[in-house]
């Protein structure tokens, strides 16, 4: 019962935050669409891409990478035991992409022309590829998420129609994600003159793909821990631990690629003398990749879901750090220009994240996201049972939840 109440409080907190945020976003949107980008952002002719590209777009897409990784694990590798975490992960990815589209609507100068790449082709442009990937993969994600809604509204005939094409959808999704993640890195390939050598490299597309995979899995672990704790669900520590072992491998691969590339380009020496810029680089590599990789490699460490979430949280933050370093720090360092996002830019980015979490919490309550079904449904059943036996039945989840904690 306590847990249920906690869950209700959390929902209340996110609802309140989101309603405030929606009002704030509406006000900023009004300013932005009547007086232009200059009225709400610190963007300028010398710094045309800022926080909305660096965080909302680059990180929104990257953190959704768990979606294709986990669906591929279940549907392509047939590792069915990962199924319980698939739907929340697909939901996270779907919300991530919706955040990207919302961010684009704020950031594009003329968002009403957003459909132009459909008919006006320039295959030599990375942005053209990015545009198509956003459109196609958002479609794939909505189809991958559709079964949740179809189950909820009992549209079985549509479900039957969707089932046989699922493997095809998943394969197309993995291909599109591979292209999309890497193309976000390719966006910066044309800027050798404008980026610090610690971040500019012809390897950017490969690095973006590898780091997005690591961050996507990190996000899956963090999100599983967060949502299951919030709703008093059993945490699949074993699954999260197995995923984290994959993370160790991915982080090692990423670090190897990164260091090999830095050495090959003679760029590693630019770390010294230490400056704010190179400290950003060291923080990104050490705190965002090396430390979590070592921690996650220790079997004892992986036994606690809380520690898993903390280490994977470091991976996610390190990933966000990398994307912002590529899009802001590296450009500042090489061009001598400065950019600090305005308060309104921060509010839009933070607001989109808050609303995303709110929608996630709502979806968990009213849709069959968890294997046990919609939470609201479950509560109703529990309450009815409680009345019948005149004594609240213990929530099945809480006992299992406690078992997963290893003392010490």
């Amino acid at each position: 019962m306590l847990r249920q109440r906690l869950a209700a409080i959390r929902l209340g907190f996110w609802s309140a935050t989101s309603i405030v945020m929606i009002a704030v976003l509406a006000a900023i949107a009004y300013l932005r669409f009547t007086r232009g980008l200059g009225a709400v952002t610190n963007l300028s002719n010398s710094f045309p891409w800022g926080l909305w590209i660096g965080f909302d777009i680059l990180c929104g897409v990257g953190l959704a990478a768990g979606g294709f990784a986990v669906t591929a694990t279940v549907h392509i590798l047939h590792l069915r035991e990962f199924k319980p975490i698939m739907r929340p992960t697909v939901l996270t990815a779907f919300l991530g992409y919706i955040m990207v589209v919302c961010g684009l609507i704020f950031d594009l100068g003329k968002p009403w022309n957003i459909w132009h790449p459909i008919i006006m082709w320039n295959p030599h442009s990375v942005m053209f590829e990015v545009g198509w990937c956003v459109m196609l993969y958002t479609t794939v994600l909505s189809l991958e998420f559709a079964p949740v809604l179809l189950e909820r509204f009992k549209l079985d005939w549509l479900l039957k129609l969707l089932k046989p094409v699922t493997p095809v959808l998943v394969i197309v999704g993995v291909l599109l994600s591979t292209l999309h993640q890497s193309s976000l890195g390719s966006l910066f390939l044309i800027l050798p003159e404008k980026m610090h050598p610690l971040w500019y490299t012809p390897m950017l597309p490969v690095l973006f793909f590898a780091s997005a995979l690591a961050a996507g899995i990190g996000m899956t672990v963090v999100e599983s821990w967060f949502s299951r704790r919030a709703f008093g669900k059993p945490i699949e520590t074993d699954l999260l631990s197995r995923l984290s072992r994959v993370s160790v491998l991915l982080l090692a691969l990423y670090l190897a690629l990164r260091l090999r590339d830095l050495v090959a380009r003679d760029a590693l020496a630019t770390v010294f003398p230490l400056s704010p810029v190179t400290v950003m680089f060291l923080a990104e590599i050490v705190l965002g990749a090396v430390v979590p990789m070592v921690l996650l490699a220790i079997p004892r460490f992986r036994r606690s879901p809380r520690r898993l979430a903390v280490a994977q949280g470091m991976v996610v933050l390190g990933f966000i750090f990398h994307r912002l370093n590529v899009s802001v720090t590296a450009v500042e360092a090489a061009t001598g220009r400065t950019y600090l996002p305005s308060m309104m830019e921060f509010l839009v980015s933070a607001g989109l994240v808050a609303i995303g979490i709110w929608v996630f919490v709502l979806a968990c309550r009213y849709l069959p996201i968890f294997p046990e079904g919609a939470l609201a449904e479950e509560e109703r059943v529990t309450r009815a049972a409680g009345k019948a036996v005149a004594r609240p039945a213990p929530l099945a989840g809480s006992a299992a939840f406690d078992r997963t904690r290893i003392p010490g």
Partner: protein, 252 residues
């Protein structure tokens, strides 16, 4: 004219600002003192001291980064030379501004329907050519066929090594540009962007983009294969389990 170019001879410039004035007039902008490239100023004069004035304007690259990165083809390199812009196609991603190594395109930051702004070499004036070249009283900005201008620039530089720094800016920068500079000092000292890349920048992008068909093709085969193999494994395991259960039933 085969391929139009513009030659700026910094040694001849007297800093009168006629080019700036003519540019604003030709592009129907209110007359004002231009202090940099912005949404209302497609050209301006940099005062580099010692009576040296250097104009900035769009370089009209042979292989323009801006046109190559534009997802909708709003920016285009025309056969006649100028790099043009179509605001109706533009969706405002500002990738052109990021990509330009010369820092040329600017944006209407305070407009509700913003456009990218930059010199288009007066394409709207047709055969009359760029207004700035027409207005220059000192012959510091001249227009003509690019190859002829390069020959002329090389001739001037070679014939007067005391006056000219021995280099024509724009022949190799970012794969070559249609706007060329010669002057009394090295380009960097004149305030011109030090673009180190000699080849066309769009090639850097194409090196990655050209792998897309292979990623889709081999990635698709690989994933399809994985699906097929692990599915088979799962089917076999299920059949074996069923068989075992069957046997168990008989013995019981």
């Amino acid at each position: 004219m085969a391929h139009r170019g513009i030659l700026v001879d910094v040694t001849k410039c007297i800093g009168c600002g006629s080019c700036v004035e003519a540019c604003q007039k030709a592009n129907e902008q209110p007359a004002h003192e231009a202090r940099g490239l912005d949404a209302h100023s497609y050209t301006y004069l940099m005062d580099r001291g010692n009576d040296t004035y250097v104009r900035r304007l769009c370089m009209h690259c042979e292989n323009p980064s801006c046109a190559s990165v534009c997802p909708v083809g709003a920016l285009k390199k025309t056969a006649a030379g100028p790099v043009t812009y179509d605001p109706d196609k533009c969706m405002g991603c500002r990738y052109c501004m990021m990509a330009c190594p010369f820092g040329v395109p600017t944006y209407e930051w305070h407009s509700a329907a913003p456009r990218v702004r930059k010199c288009q070499m007066c394409v709207h004036r047709g055969a009359a050519g760029p207004a700035c070249a027409e207005a220059c009283p000192a012959g510091a900005t001249v227009t003509g066929d690019r190859d002829a201008l390069i020959a002329e620039a090389r001739r001037r530089v070679a014939s007067d090594p005391k006056t000219y720094f021995q280099r024509v800016y724009g022949i190799t920068e970012a794969g070559g540009t249609d706007v060329l500079y010669i002057g009394p000092r090295e380009p960097a000292a004149l305030g011109l962007p030090a673009v180190k890349t000699v080849g066309p920048l769009p090639e850097l992008t194409w090196n990655a983009l050209r792998h897309i068909p292979d990623v889709v093709l081999f990635g698709g085969v690989f994933l399809g294969g994985l699906f097929w193999l692990t599915k088979r494994k799962e089917d076999v395991a299920r059949a074996e389990r069923a068989e075992l259960a069957d046997k168990g039933d008989h013995h019981a």
